[in-house]
């Protein structure tokens, strides 16, 4: 697409607004949704933003016409996730916001995001985090690739884009390291093993005020409310319960055989 033919690189980065993992999480309401009062940009998405910025910076950055568009779907407050991305260096923002989206599962979320991406059009790379830090299904990027009909390069820990428009990523597991390639446009999700995300500097913070964010409702996207939100979701949370409090551990009093008891205990749990 554009970048392969020598045009500017257009990156879209998906950013989710999630409850701050520092605090205990609470499920509330009839649909067991997460209490979102103390929310921030999903920390894993900061890695996606960092990768996106590095992709354009390697080519001269925003000054050379390359763009990083930050896209979130979520309630009004979720605009904060886009704002943080703009402070870190994204060039513009998009916020898909509609009351009918509340309660969307991964399938409904990926439908709304794919529709928005098609509506905006023309991206070379769609970057996402490897998982949100709240829902943690990790499935949105894969669904998105399917819906967009694009190659998916998921769980990449190092990314490189050649001048030929071929994107190379490394996927590490415990025992192997795989190198994957995709032609653009492509959907990519990145892990937290890449370079540490930058802090937004003062210039970025002040400059973000002047950057453009558009807000899109379902009607702007031509999307039927019946296909998203609780109504359009394929999965529904039936019930949710707080984890029972931890019970006291086993105390071994040493009467000369504590070592043996300890080994037996570990062997019993198949830890030895």
């Amino acid at each position: 697409m554009s970048v392969a033919s020598g045009g500017p690189l257009k990156v879209l980065v998906l950013v989710k607004h999630v409850p701050d993992a520092q605090f205990d999480r609470h499920l509330a309401g009839a649909d067991h949704s997460i209490d979102r009062s103390e929310s921030i940009l999903s920390e894993l998405d900061e890695y996606a933003i960092e990768s996106a910025l590095q992709l354009i910076e390697a080519r001269g950055g925003a000054k050379a016409g390359h763009t990083v568009t930050a896209l979130t779907m979520g309630p009004e407050r979720a605009a904060a996730a886009v704002k943080k991305a703009l402070q870190m260096g994204a060039t513009d923002g998009v916020h898909v916001c509609d009351p009918a989206l509340a309660g969307s599962d991964a399938a409904a979320t990926s439908l709304a995001l794919a529709t928005a991406i098609n509506h905006l059009g023309g991206f070379d790379v769609v970057l996402a985090g490897m998982a949100s830090t709240d829902g943690e299904t990790s499935i949105v990027p894969a669904q998105l690739a399917e819906r967009l009909g694009l190659p998916q390069l998921t769980m990449a820990s190092a990314l490189e884009l050649g001048d030929d428009g071929v994107l190379t990523g490394r996927r590490d597991s415990d025992t192997t390291s795989t190198t994957l390639q995709a032609t653009l446009p492509a959907v990519v999700s990145v892990t937290d093993q890449g370079e540490e995300p930058r802090y937004p500097n003062f210039k970025g913070i002040m400059g973000a005020k002047k950057k453009k964010t558009v807000t899109l409702a379902l009607s702007d996207l031509g999307l039927d409310a019946a296909h998203v939100g609780v109504a359009g979701s394929w999965t529904h949370v039936e019930d949710a319960q707080a984890r029972p409090p931890r019970t006291a551990g086993t105390v071994i009093t040493d009467e000369g055989d504590a070592g043996v008891q300890l080994v037996d205990f570990l062997a019993d749990k198949k830890l030895l």
Binding site: Y199, N201, F202, I205, M206
Partner: protein, 378 residues
Amino acid sequence: MFELNDEQQAMVEMVRDFATENIAPHADRWDQEHHFPVDVLAQAGELGMGAIYADEQFGGSGLSRSDAVLIFEELARACPTIAAYISIHNMVAWMIDSFGDDAQRERWIPGMATMSELGSYCLTEPGAGSDAAALTTRAVRDGGEYVLNGTKQFISGAGAAAYYLVMARTADTGSRGISAIVVPAGTGGLSFGALEKKMGWNAQPTRQVIFSDVRVPVGNRLGEEGDGFGIAMKGLNGGRLNIGACSLGGGQTALEKSAAHLKERHAFGGALINQQSLLFELADMETKLVTARTLLWRAAAALDDGADDALKLCAMAKRVATDAGYETANAAIQLHGGYGYLSEYGLEKIARDLRVHQILEGSNEIMRLIIGRMIAEN
């Protein structure tokens, strides 16, 4: 005035994240090992902390004094010494940015803004501290150069800095005979005394700076000959706000540690926080800090607005905030009992670091002198 705007909140959050990750975990070790972390300073510089309130034209961050005090308080929560050095560096960067011509700004500000090049403020001499106008370091004109001779005392960052902003005598006309001259590191005849052994501020070097026939181009002078004392004092106005903010940050950490300790520590059948006299002590600490912060923010706003009473308010704020910070840290040691006296708990370091804030950048007696004289003059 008392609510942070969105940008200020984002700045405070960023500085807190940065300081929590990159400064706080190492602060005790840097203190013990007398390590000056120039690499971490360069990281802070990348984030815009090297020339916070200098113009954006040559790399400054273009922020206000009201923003700066928030930033310094946040840095000082992690380590007052590092925060205070960054304040001194900013004072020098601002002086060059404000009183230098474009060629000087273009030459010196970019490196200082990123803190890849550090600055030192050289006013005090062995024989002239509070009475700075009595300084005797000389700069004698010789063709297109100044030849500097003399000794500066207690210079923060000395030996590590790239630029020494030196207040030197160019005429025997008291405070009107002083000029501000930039001496780059490596200039022939520039040398440094031994590292001073100190009560605190161990994570930054304090040394004499010695000039023997140091030659620099006349083009290294900021402003006109004789402007130096005014430039130095204007730099100190902002410096005093920042150093006050550094005291508040240290004091705030001491207060928070104390509240946590009193909740945890049990004696006489309950948590110590239930002893009302100790609760009152916490209330006094908090009240002192908030009182000082309120005045500090007002003084910063006055300096931002160029108000007539800015000098007086800065002097008042410096005195109140540095006293509040030290008194809070000292009280925190008492509230921790014997543990407060152990290095491991981090409180004695805060007190040692904050003690000097009452002495430098114009001692708190000199602050009272400034305020008192203004009353007398009216």
